[in-house]
Amino acid sequence: MSVDTEVKPYQQLRRETMERDRGLREKVMSLEEAAKLVRDGDHVGIGGCTMSRTPTAMIWALIRARRKDLVVSRSITSSEGDLLFASGVSKHIITSWFTQGIVWGVSKVMRHHTEKKLARFEEWSHMSMGLRYRAGAMGIPFMPSRSMIGSDVGKRVGDSLKTMTCPFTGEEVVLLPALNPDVALIHVQRCDAYGNAQLDGLQFMDIDMAMAANKVILTTERIVSNDQIRRTPDQTRIPFFTVDAVVEAPMGCAPHECYGLYEPFFGHLDEYAEITAKDPVKGPQQYLEEYYYGPKSWPDYLAKLGMDAVLDACRRGRSVHND
């Protein structure tokens, strides 16, 4: 069985959690410092979905830090998956759907790496991905469910998917193995220095992923005071004691979107689709050189996207609040 389906024994899960410094402490650091918390070979869960609240800044830092052999999991994987493959940071992505986006057709980079067997795209249904994180978040080894059975998606994951007869109803139910990432990368609109995070709009699978992971790295549009968090505690979605790093990264999802603040950078994503479609090998390398390895800093990266593009994305992003 592959690493992802080795469910952690409960005592190990608890021991690892107990060993973490869960106390109320400030944990603000730079992207570079946070990247050091991820070790080669780690299972890294990525928050957001498709082009939404993707923790691009943290992925950018991991690629620049030349991390290796990461097993990556995400609800749905977009262009960041191409770049994790093309940069050699990951050779194994666990997800339900993998391509930049419907409007750009099937990702040539994903196709190149999977069809040439350079990397693995392990496919689970969307709900099953979510329920696997949820089981991990709840401290149980599996979650009962009712999809994937019968289909080739279920067959293909083999022993990782099990069935049992319900002792209460006698029905057959599917058992999904818990997924507890070593590290979760999650981008939020705001959090405090302790890591109490408030997410607006679509939550995706981020809360379960944060609770399931053994480490959480938060990137945030802005760091706010703990007093501000305490004024609206029912808006807090991730509690500080699950968080190991807080990094302020404005526009941290670009060229993807962050709910209520900015929409995807469609022009840039069109260009990305074009160069990667033209050459699934040289294309992404050229893109990585220009936007990932080249820039001196995150603001420098944003400058390369262009001020006009940033302003346009923000104008569209804030329009969600318009009548």
């Binding site: 939404s52 709900m127 019968g150």
Partner: protein, 260 residues
């Protein structure tokens, strides 16, 4: 995106698809919709005969109203939430299917077979695929847990006897095989194409033509299908898209992102 040239007809194949699909929806239904044609069709239905239809997106939205010209690029962007009734986590919106609150799932398809099984994962052998497709997303969950409508182009390469890989289960191997394989609920209900509307035989679960689009012959449909189609005892001819229906679609998608 289509073999019909605008010159040849007053509407594109995608517009025809969207209109025919919209007409299958009933008022008050809870519809789990993908973006593209399904979303256009559901929104068209809302603005015509099903004002109380509720759209669910797998990104985590209940009951949005789509803003014309601002079609979401996927089910997971903030555009999906405009003026919605509720926003919730992905896992929880998908669990609405499992709990049984959803009337119909509505998706596009890459490849379908005679029993309505869908493939969006692999063309060719899964271990050595000719093409690795994007995968299931919520497709497997939706088609496993509710009744399905699929809207797709009617092409021989897309309508095959047996799909290379069952990503989203239809009637499996026909007859009672779906239930026997652990899916007593849901199943493929309608397949809408630019040529016809199809259902499935109540007994054998083989694909059966129920209605032909105007100007389309049985032979044409069969020619564009990779397996032997059944034809209903009373095959109807569908009313072509009306001007009012097309007007709504063109207002929704002025840039023809999905209806070119």
């Amino acid at each position: 995106m289509t073999k019909h040239s605008p010159a040849a007809s007053a509407y594109t194949a995608s517009e025809l698809l969207a209109v025919m699909a919209a007409r299958l929806l009933k008022d008050g239904q809870i519809v789990f919709a993908g973006v593209g044609i399904p979303l256009l069709a559901a929104t068209l239905a809302q603005r015509s005969h099903t004002p109380h239809l509720t759209i669910l997106f797998e990104g985590g939205t209940i009951g949005p109203f789509i803003v014309p010209g601002e079609l979401p690029p996927s089910t997971n962007e903030q555009r999906c939430t405009r003026r919605s009734n509720m926003v919730l986590p992905i896992t929880d919106v998908l669990l609405l299917l499992q709990r049984g609150y959803v009337d119909v799932g509505f998706m596009g398809g890459a490849q379908i077979d005679r029993f309505g099984n869908l493939n969006s994962s692999f063309i060719g052998d899964a271990d050595n695929p000719r093409i690795r497709l994007p995968g299931t997303g919520g497709g497997n969950d939706i088609s496993s847990l509710t009744d399905m409508i699929v809207a797709m182009k009617h092409e021989k390469r897309r309508f095959v006897a047996d799909v290379d890989f069952i990503t989203s289960p239809g009637w499996m191997k026909g007859k009672a095989s779906r239930a026997e394989r652990g899916l007593p609920q849901g199943g493929m209900w309608r397949v809408v194409t630019d040529l016809a509307v199809m259902g499935f035989d109540e007994d054998t679960r083989e694909m059966k033509v129920l209605a032909l689009n105007q100007g389309v012959t049985r032979e044409q449909v069969q020619e564009n299908t990779g397996f032997k189609l059944l034809f209903d005892a009373h095959v109807e001819t569908a009313e072509p898209p009306r001007a009012d229906e097309l007007a709504v679609l063109r207002e929704l998608d002025p840039e023809r992102l999905y209806t070119a």
